[in-house]
Amino acid sequence: MKAVHYSVIQGKSFGYILLLGIFGAITAFGFGAALYMEHNGHIVTGMNNQIVWGLPHVFAVFLIVAASGALNVASMASVFGRALYKPLARLSGLLAIALLAGGLAVLLLDLGRPDRLIIAMTYYNFKSIFALNIILYSGFFLLVGIYLWMMFERRMNPFTKVAGFFAFIWRLILTTGTGSIFGFLVARQAYDAAIMAPLFIIMSFAFGLAIFLLVLISSYAWTHREIGDAVVERLRKLLGIFVASVLYFVLVYHLTNLYVTEHHGIERFILLDGGIYTEIFWMGQILIGGLIPLLLCLTPLGRSRPMVLLAAVLVILGGLAQVYVIIIGGQAFPLELFPGKGVSSSFFDGQITFYQPSIPEMFLGFSGIGITLLITTFAIKVLPFLPNSLANKDVDPHFTDQSKGDSGPSAEAATA
């Protein structure tokens, strides 16, 4: 393989400025919404004493989960020695940091007291999985930062593998930690499952790669750099494998839950008669975010750039739907204070709660994506994250167009 040459993008075109402007505006609207929410209290959101975590959490958790998944491409290069992914490693690291920053910003701004950030960072209850997560996130920034430095600095290159290895291990722990935030809530039936943590890890693979693909293909198209099928095809198939794995884990999750009589209520709720949550589950998570992308990724149907982009967008939408069902659906189903009894009270005991996200919450949620893209767009202008070319001849001279051959999963996918 040839040496890879990276360069910054020019970033002088009208399109670039416009892009920065759009992402900046999305971010600004989010901050405005957060100020509004803090001033008036959470009464201006759809959240209440029943649904205590709303749409901002959906975006935040999605982005944080995707952050660790976005690092996957780099890990495959450094840890698993896949040469093809090596030129992509820098962008992979950048996206990981940008996604985490976006997710954390939303999480922070949705606090009842975001002004107490200092307290959140100085008072620790080490028993709390939440506090542990704060440490995991800080560590992730640091490790990925070091990892990027090793990649950028020629004399540090030899350490890339070690740094990549640590970042890889850390990200696995991080996603386990995020999943455990829910796993620890034994009183909530939807989360009372050991499979929660591995499910989050596999979700992170899919979400992270979908965002990576989307950013990669669009930035190459907009900067008129070449990106060949050698890269895109492999990532497409890899995405297919990840989407299939998520579906598999979701299946196992629900099957195991169905074994536990105690959990039949919540299962019925999500799968059958939960109204909006059932719809989001089947339509959003399974169909749009699962089956259609699966088809696009693993069959010749998706063998064109627009189709690959579509698959990535669908996986992202489906991912948001999945996190929505987990977080909001899990809360909408009432806590069982008295198993087997009908329960009612002025505090909505025993009732399925209604939740309607308000406009400020949507702004705040979307600002997480805005922040991520703002950071990314800005960073590729100031530092050489993108290889000059990802054309077939540059990344894999032996690549042959398989469009007439089989389209089975590649070896890379199997090792991932």
Binding site: G41, N49, L117, L337
Partner: protein, 244 residues
């Protein structure tokens, strides 16, 4: 066997220290009320016993008294207004038999809210009362997710007319304090228990679970009682009698 000089000195030092401090410890142990400078001690464990059969349908004396005592006065938004105590109705699905009784923070010995709280704002006092430190709470609401009893409320809006005994704050989480301010000044009863007794229903007994001579301990010893979701092994400080 001979005792060396140094050993002898050490032993006498320990003995002297012990005699000097022991009476002090005793004093704290025996006092029912403590002044605000003294820390709560593990000598007590405060709790409630709620007799489901004595609780009267339609009566909201305990709830009203709690709201007045603690300055809970937001109205008009049922889904977001705080409720530190609520009347719950259960109905046996097979027989249709109904029971009505108050539910509040159960003041667990192993409170899940305290375990999950990232900053340590949720804490349990030595005397078993579970509280939120309003100055450290960042309003993450993880404790509300973790509480199996739905006992906590988040303050969704700016508050007016607060009671200085029970400071509250927008953007933080709160729940029943077991009228900690009343306990600490030696009232020996919570607002809810007081109000219930005032109605002559006597469905709520407040007292020290660790004092075998207390009314609550004697009642618990005399008759069967239960905890809500005892299967979680949280060892709640609030017990129920007659819960079917």
């Amino acid at each position: 066997m001979s005792i060396g000089r140094r050993d002898f000195l050490k032993a006498s030092a320990i003995a002297t220290t012990a005699t000097a401090f022991a009476p002090g410890i005793n004093l704290i142990e025996l006092a029912a009320a403590r002044n605000p400078e003294q820390a709560a001690t593990a000598i007590h464990r405060w709790g409630l016993l709620i007799d489901v059969n004595k609780c009267v349908k339609g009566c909201t004396a305990c709830v009203d008294a709690c709201f007045i005592e603690n300055g809970i006065n937001e109205k008009g938004s049922p889904t977001t207004d705080a409720q530190w105590i609520r009347k719950v109705t259960t109905k046996d699905k097979a027989t249709g038999h109904e029971q009505i009784f108050p539910v509040m923070c159960q003041h667990c010995e192993h409170p899940p809210c305290v375990d999950v709280c990232p900053t340590g704002a949720s804490f349990k006092r030595k005397d078993g009362i579970v509280l939120v430190d309003k100055h450290i709470c960042i309003g993450c609401r993880y404790c509300m997710m973790a509480c199996p009893y739905k006992a906590r409320s988040f303050v969704h809006q700016t508050l007016t007319g607060q009671n200085h005994n029970a400071p509250r704050g927008k953007g933080t989480v709160e729940s029943c304090t077991l009228c900690v301010h009343k306990i600490d000044r030696g009232d020996g009863i919570t607002a809810c228990a007081d109000a219930c007794a005032g109605e002559n229903h006597k469905a709520i007994i407040f007292g020290d679970l660790k004092d075998p001579r207390s009314e609550i301990s004697r009642q618990l010893k005399a008759q069967a009682s239960s905890q809500i979701r005892a299967d979680f092994n949280l060892n709640t400080g609030v017990r129920y009698r007659g819960l079917s």
